[in-house]
Amino acid sequence: MSAELLNELMERAKALAEEEKLRFAEYLMEKIQVRSSSKQEQPEFPDAVSEVERNSESVREGTTQDWRRDVCLSEEKAAHRSEHMIWLKANRDAYAGQYVALDGSRLVGTGNNVREAEAVARQRGVEKPFIVYLFPLDSIPFGGW
């Protein structure tokens, strides 16, 4: 592939939405995997595969796995963020003036400070809850200097 085509593809990819970029990246990674596995099935020169090539294959495989894991974690986190926002909008009145600890769409703790809310969440088995203070609806807290 020419460098021009590669640059053009990368430039055009910038115009894609985030979700489309992920799909495009996934497509490319699938192609790399197909090529990688077909190489393993029908090596042209099995005896000539050098240590360097074997290492690069395992590095590529590791990178693919890392990338997939990162995408999964990222998608999971994005889903949690959406759930947090929906919960906060629906419940800000009821919990105004308190800290809330959320785990996705679940309320796992409340308190007058981070420590209290976090402690309740941990008692319920959630080690890293998302903790937010909800300002009372009618309040106008100070925004700073």
């Binding site: 981070v114 903790i131 203070y133 807290p141 100070f142 925004g143 700073g144 200097w145």
Partner: protein, 137 residues
Amino acid sequence: MSYHLTFQKSALYNTSKEGVTVGVRLTLNGQSVVCDAKIDTGASSCIFERTLGENLGINIEGGLQQRFGTVTGSFLTYGHEVTLSVLDIEFDALVYFADDESFTRNVLGQRGWLDRVRLGIVDYEGRFYLSYYGERA
């Protein structure tokens, strides 16, 4: 009696600038933006300029609406969950992005940042110290 605190991180800040200005990184969906922000113990929350949120791909108006006051009036913001990082001490927090594009101040305030770190400031030296509350130095 004397008291001792230990911290994970320390850095110098520029004393020729107004306030205590530190570097902040906001991250969302693998994208990051960096900016300078003032540490403001009087501010109720963390507030950032709108363009920073937009550069992270956030639909600003889709967040949790909140109005904040100043000594001269008030301004509208929208809260969004991001990963907030100062000196590589990072956690997820709800921070607010100003509705008005002309708002160009970035503030690290109580809810969302000060409430989960330990902070030391020695302005005489232009140095601040920072730890995540739950971590030992």
